[in-house]
Structures are given as structure tokens and as C-alpha cells.
Symmetry: C2
Subunit: 505 residues, 2 copies
Amino acid sequence: MSDVTVEKWGMFEASFQGPSTGNPFLEIAFDAIFKQKSREVRVPGFYDGDGIYKIRFMPDEEGEWRFITRSEQAELDGQTGQLTVGPATKNNHGPVKVRNQFHFGYADGSPYLPFGTTCYAWTHQPLAMQAQTLETLKQTRFNKIRMGVFPKDYPYNTNEPLYACFLSGPDGKEDFDQPNPLAFRHFETQVAALCEIGIEADIIIFHPYDRWGYADMSAEQDYRYVAYLAARLSAYRNVWWSLANEYDFLLNTKPLAQWDRYFHILEENDPYQHLRSIHNGDVRMNFDHRKPWVTHTCIQNWDVKRTQEWRDDYGKPVINDEPEYEGNIIQCWGNITAQELVHRYWITLTRGGYAGHGETYSHPEDLIWWAKGGKLRGEAWKRIGFLRDLLEEDANSGFEPLGSVHDWPWSRVSGARDGDVRLIYFGEHQPIVWSSGLPMDGDHYEVDIIDTWNMTVTPAKKVEAPVTHPTRHGDIVRGGKPDAAFGIELPGKPYLAVRVRPMKR
Amino acid sequence: MSDVTVEKWGMFEASFQGPSTGNPFLEIAFDAIFKQKSREVRVPGFYDGDGIYKIRFMPDEEGEWRFITRSEQAELDGQTGQLTVGPATKNNHGPVKVRNQFHFGYADGSPYLPFGTTCYAWTHQPLAMQAQTLETLKQTRFNKIRMGVFPKDYPYNTNEPLYACFLSGPDGKEDFDQPNPLAFRHFETQVAALCEIGIEADIIIFHPYDRWGYADMSAEQDYRYVAYLAARLSAYRNVWWSLANEYDFLLNTKPLAQWDRYFHILEENDPYQHLRSIHNGDVRMNFDHRKPWVTHTCIQNWDVKRTQEWRDDYGKPVINDEPEYEGNIIQCWGNITAQELVHRYWITLTRGGYAGHGETYSHPEDLIWWAKGGKLRGEAWKRIGFLRDLLEEDANSGFEPLGSVHDWPWSRVSGARDGDVRLIYFGEHQPIVWSSGLPMDGDHYEVDIIDTWNMTVTPAKKVEAPVTHPTRHGDIVRGGKPDAAFGIELPGKPYLAVRVRPMKR
């Protein structure tokens, strides 16, 4: 192989000619060992049709790398090559990893706060609509998208996909032992297009909304498919693995133990250990995210004041992918108001979690963002972008809850801090004066009132700290003292937050 | 005693002269047996000061009753009398009882749906303000009020009460072994005034907001005080017993076993078995309402979509006394918007429970309804009255949840039915078409859209029933059918409900 240059966290690809007879997907194993100094990285290869075999590699260190292929197939064994890895270019921050237990960050150290949206089947829509989806995403502040490998059969989702995911067998039916390279090439083109605009692809591997038989593949077929995805896609730095959407609606054909195996296959075949999680349907069916192969907690739950509970249960970052969607369709997971979704975002974020967006407005041609992409029609996405901008002004190690939900007032209102910066979100509460959660150590802070809906930031008026805890019999705070160095006045309306920051010097 | 006539569920009172020396409260036991045919009812008596001993009796059957007193004190023993009980007058429906497991009704069979408010210390305010409270209540549709026997020491509640609850002892301090008849006479005057305007008095026996020592009385003093209340007040038909407000904040001086004893004393000394419950502070500290001496479940919890959980846990009517209060004070249990409180009422009622109102708007002189009564300043009370009127149009055996919270869509929206009448509350959800929970059996129903905030009722347009359940892999509803005989159109905005009733013939 020729010597080539790629950037750090960029993709190196090498192709090899091999057999095109039989079923290479089933019959030919093929990988490569990439070496730098004493380090060796095993990179699985994959068959891309027409006798072409590929290895993709995402280097995470600059400098010289060499590789050698391995296979029982002679043409694919012992092939060597080398590459030179240069520095990452401007907008390449590397893959996202867990950081500080409950948060995320790019591999280059820059902060990453997930602000995701959902377009399950956007890569299966007509190409013009896919282009529109990418254009729309550029107008937003979303930096992650949930998207399925497979097309979707579901209310509002009845059109045929652009490509069958598998080639037809002799009986004219899709043969789940023969991936369709065209389908997967198109999918990864769109993963790359997302990477180009700074959006992480949260790739849903399995889902139950199926009429093609993908949800009914055998366990062995599933295992090969997961390994194939890992070999094809892991070298894209913006890949996240979401094992399933609503895995619990698939348990009749894919029992629980099988899900662990899918995770293990990714651990074995994704050399970069991209983020891995799995999304439940029924609120009682959260996956056991404590398992070590799950990197973060994904859930679907509208009851967002429970965010700390999920942090505590699993000890990992929490992303509530579906705190219900803004929209007006008949399905109740898809018909909350924009204001309610923004409210749930703020609650989630100021309780130390992250939330996901989706939009489900009824449309005469069923062009609904949550499944097909296209255009956004709602109001929440702008406020969610405002929230992201606001948080990124100050995010450092991650916003952590200001107190236990069992302590007053954090069971009722929400508050979080990242270092010296605090955010308190009042939501449906409208106190006209406030102090809990404000600093105890003097007055060297600036405080702003944030109107989360109107997206304004206004300096707050400071007042003497009131005594916030009730004085009562047996209460340890009897004869109560103020719980902060100062208080602030608030305008007495809902959906406000306050931000406290050290004064600039 | 002379023969007197009282109405059914009215009050008969007989007074007797006895010793006024020593401490009659501690030293003299005194009761009466009321007889009608073969029935005997034991009615405890009480000392009312100045050598006067009283027996109060609330007959629950018309006709002739006779009584004889019993005491080791000769003057109070063997006294007899008789009374004639006539029919209840127009607005006298008797005491409220549990009916149909999860609901309430008056003893005469007429429906009673609790729509309570809270004025903890209203009977301890200046008399003009107490008169104002009664006037205000008449303007509302509240039919229950939570009120403490003892005055309150708490933020916004620092004024001295009208009366000390106990007489002073030789040391000038209140002697908890000598109830002050003036204080209790005033309290019962106000209980009677409430009865006059159709309002149940939900009497709070203990609370932790204390500076007078009432929360620190000995167990024996507590027991005598509870028995004394039972003897004085049980004959008022509008009495409910609330053992405590926030009993869990009293556990340091009144351990859990003591609370059962208080209940037992009421069982033994309230011949009419008025409703008995107890109210928690911390949301993790619900009392064990399964205990047989607890007639219904009282709780404080903002998380109102859990209403069915509390029904299921205890199998008794649920009253959420404090789903937080409308207001703007710094304490977060007292600063939600009017709209949010109305929203929580609707959720609670359409999940088979009942809710309580309170109002906590900051006031320059601390005149706050929730503690002192006076004037209402908010907006929720009108909508709560509208909701009561609406429910009472149709209430019969009680509104029961339309489905399990584990079944779609009742985890997310709320719905209940009383016989053929159904109410579905959407809250933050805004579908533009709906069918779940509508009747399966044809089209002989009228459907109205209720704007819960603007208090309007508008006929809904019926449409063909949509398929509401998603069709998906493995779902038992695959190839889904409509779940109702028809659907309705909705205007796509929040805080709406629909009501379905059989068409009038």
C-alpha cells in the first residue's frame, strides 16, 4: 500500500481485491493490525461487494502507523501499508467520550454537551429531503441526531426506503446473510455529512418498527450484522452506538442475554470504543445501564424531575432521549407543547442530565421531522439552541445538581453548578424573591434572570438574603439563618431561570 | 332533663352541674349512654369550666332517644333525659363517609366530592378577619377547609392567637392539663359557622409549627387532649379528623406508635366515626394509610400523575391536600402558578383522586390565605369551582381511572369515568385528533371540549376513529384497529379536557 497522510481522528481506508464468489460475508474473515511504536490496534475489515475488501482506521495519535492484514484467505493476508497522521484540522475535535462520570467531552479536551434531535429514518427518504434535513440541521444548534440503520414501518412511516439493507436471495426475498453495500455506503455517506457539520450520529442498530423482517433475523444474523456495522462505521469519529430504540418491544424475538452479546461484539470490533447505550420503550423497562459495557444511560421518560434518580441508579451520564416530543399527533409521546418540551429540557439539564429533542406535528403528507427529517415546524428547537449557547458559555467539567432531591428545595425546583457558575430553574414556580442555591461566600457574583421562552438574559436585583427555611418544631434549622449571602428579586412569572457567575475582574 | 327536639345529624347538648374544684379535666370521668330501641351509643362527656359538664350527641336516626349519664361522681351519674329526633332540614345531608372504596358521600346518600382549601390558623386571627374568611368562603365553591386547633408559629405567622388553648398554671405558663374552655368554645363556634355554609372542617389535631409548647406535650397529655376534642367536637356533623399536618416533622417527640394510639382514642371516643386521616411532610413519609383506623389517604405530593399509585398502595380514597399552592413566596411548596395548580387538580381528579387548594401570595402584612384566611387573591380558586360544578353535574359513584397507568396512553394523559360519563384531561398534551378512552359502543354520546382555564364548554366535532396504537413488531395490536367508535377533533392547544356523556333522549 502507498503511504498516505490523514489527520488525527480522520479516516484511513485501504481496499483489497479478494474473492467475489460464494458468500464472502459469511465465509471470509479479515482484519488488520495497526501498529505505532509498541502499540497494536486490531481493526476488523469488511466485504464491500464486487470482490473488494476494506479496512477503515481512525488513528488517535499523530505520527507514523503501519499495518498488516490477516486472513485465512491468501490475497487478504499479510498485506501491509503505512500512513502518516497529522494534526486534527480546525473542526475536528475527535470522538466524544464520557468525562467526569456524568458528562461528555471531545477527545481533544473541548467540551461536548449533547443537544440531540431525532430523525429515525431520515437516510431512507428521497435524496432531496435528505439534503433538506442537513440544511435544516445547519440552522439549528443540535449536535447529535438519533437515526436508525434500518428503515421504519410505523404510523406516518409507510413509504419504501431508498435501499433494501440486504441483497435479494434466490427466492426474491432479502437475504439477511448478504448486506447490500449500496445501502450501507449511502448510510455512511450521511454519517460523514453529519460529521462535516459537527453532528454526532447516534446510530440505532435495532428497532421494532419493521415490515421487512429485520426485527426477526436470527441471533447469528444479528451478531454478524452488528460486527459488520462496527467494521464499516467505527472509523467515523462522530459515531455513537444506540443498540436499540425501545429494545423492550423486541424482547419477544431478542431475549435479554442477546443484548449483552451485541454490546460485547461492539466492544470487540469497534477499536475506538465509541459510546454505547440502549433506549427503552416502557418507562418500567430501563436497561440495566450499570453493566460495564454500557457507557451512558439512555432513557425515555417524561417524568424529568427524576433525572437525579437515574444518575444515582446507574452512576453514568444520563441522556433522556425522549422526554416526549413537541407536536400534536394523537400518540401522547408526540404531542406536548413547545413550552413543555423546553421546560423539560431545562429541568433535565439543571438536574445534571441531558435531553433529546423531537418534533411530531401532524402533516398532510406525513412529513414529520422525528422520523423523516425535512423541515422543523415548531418552536422548541430555537429555545433549546439558546439553552445550549448559554450552557456552553460556562460549561467546564459539567453541571452537577446543587443538592439532593431529598433536601429542600431541590425536590421541587432544579439547580446545578459547574464550578463557580450556577443555574437555578424555577419552571412552574414563581417566587418573587429567592436565595437557595446562591453563593454563601459573599457578594462577588453577578446574577442574571433568564427567560427561557423569550430567550432574554437580564441582570437581577440583589436584596438582603431572606430566611428561606421554615422555622419549625424539631427542625434542625430552627431559628433559621439565610442560606445564601444574598437574595435576588424575581418578576413573579413562570419559566424563569437564574444564572450566577463570579464577577469579571 | 326536658324533652327536646333536634333534627337528624343535628346536635343535642345536655349540661350538668358538678364539681369545680381540683382539676375536673384530670379527675372526673363522665359519659352517657344514648338508647334507641335495642341500640346503645356511648357518648363521652367533657368539662366546660365553671362546674359545668356537657354531653353532646349527634343522632343519626329519627325518633325517640333516651339517655342516662355515668360517672363515679354522684351528681353526674344516673342523670337521664330524652329527645325527639326529626328529619334533617334542607341543607343537612349528615356527615361525610367513605363510599365506593375510593370516594365520599354524605350520610343521606347525596354525593360529596371534596374540594377543600387550607387556612391553618384562621380561627386564631382577629375576629373581623375570621368573619371575612367566612364571607370569602361563601363566594367560592370550596366544601372543606383544613384548619388547626392550635395556633401557628411559622414564617408569615408570628401574631399571637386570640386565645391560649390551655389555662395558665401557678407558674404563669400554660398548663396542658387544663384546656381553656374559651378557646375551644370559639373553635367550635367556627366549626358550626362552617357547617352552616356547607363546609366540612378538616380539623388538624397536631402540627409542628409551635412556640407555645403544644408540640411538646407529654404522651398522656396528648391522649387526654385528643379525647377531649372527640368529646367536644364529634357531635358537629361536618367534623373530619386530620391527626396532624406533617406528622413526620413531629416524630422526634411523638414516635410512630403514638400516632396509632391517637387514632384509637378517636375510634373509642367519637361515636360517629368521623373521617380520620393524617398528612405527611416529606414525600417519602406517607403514613401507612392501610391501617384500618385510617379512613382515607391524605398526602402532600406535587407529583400528581402518581395518584393511581397512592390509590393502589392504600386502597382508600386519596386526597392530595398539598399538590403545592398557588402563590409567589420563597418556599417552593407555595409558589406555583394558578395555571399549574388548576392543571394538578385536573390531573388528580381524572386519575381517581381529590386535591386540596391553598394560596400563598406574599403580602406586606403577611395576610396569606393559606394560614390566616381573609381574602383570596389568586386565580385558581375560580377554576377549581368550575371543575367542581362540572363534576357534580355527573358524579354518581365516583370518577375511576379509565385505564392502568401502565397502559397507553394513561401514563401520559389522564382519564376517568363515572358510569357512562368520561372525562379525559390532556394538560400539556395537545393532540389535534383523539379517540383513546372514548366509548367503544357506537355513537350515542355527546362530547364537549372543556377549556379548563377559560372555563368554557364547547361541543366537539366527531370524526372517524383513527388508529391510535402504533403498529409495530411484536405488538399485540399489530394491524391496529381503532380503540373507540369515533374520534374527535381538538384545537391543538394545552390545558383542555373532553367530556363524554350519553346523549339525552
